[in-house]
Symmetry: C2
Subunit: 123 residues, 2 copies
């Protein structure tokens, strides 16, 4: 994986590794919102919400636009789709390797249990 | 999502959000390894590798067993499978909501463009 994609993946996974940030994305998936709208349901300070939003912006999961004095936030699903695709491909690859390894070890165990009588026999 | 599953997801995503930890898992997907085997290809200190391994153990992606004086590490794919399933379900759900919202806004735009002539007409 090229370094820029590695870094994008780092930012996306780190951004998603927090329940408040996941809840913010869930809210934004229902439509654009102001920073102050987002702070209200979480019972945390505006400053704390702003920090979470910056982590989400760095991961490009959230975009900010200005309308007069308001900052409006939208959810961009692209990095989530990229991370989900990466995770599924690694899950399939890594789990497949483990299963192949288990099968190999089981086959060796069975061969060993057949005993020394057949040891020299070609397979 | 219950708090314990939230915490598991936090640990899994955080553990995966680092290229060295992903490389360690990739190596372990090829079979059991000792901590010293893992440190070698990464050109980082044994202490630094140990810290990464502890993060992976907390996420239950890596299990440790002792064989005499050796610590042997194996990869457990279960938390990766859980996180991949969560990520895919949220991607589908959140992206679906955004698309439904876009469709709704486009329909409203078209209705508005039809002009005031039809405004009073029941829909």
């Amino acid at each position: 994986m090229p370094p820029s994609r590695q870094a994008n993946l780092d930012h996306t996974l780190l951004a998603l590794a927090d329940p408040t940030r996941r809840a913010i994305l869930q809210r934004l998936s229902r439509g654009e919102a102001r920073v102050t709208d987002l702070a209200q349901p979480f019972a945390i300070s505006l400053n704390s919400v702003s920090k979470h939003i910056r982590v989400l912006e760095r991961a490009r999961l959230v975009r900010r636009r200005r309308s007069g004095r308001e900052h409006l936030l939208t959810f961009d699903p692209k990095p989530l789709a990229d991370a989900a695709a990466w995770m599924e491909s690694q899950r399939a690859l890594w789990t497949g390797r483990l299963e192949a390894l288990d099968a190999l070890l089981s086959a060796e165990d069975r061969a060993a249990k057949r005993g020394p009588r057949r040891r020299g026999r070609p397979r």
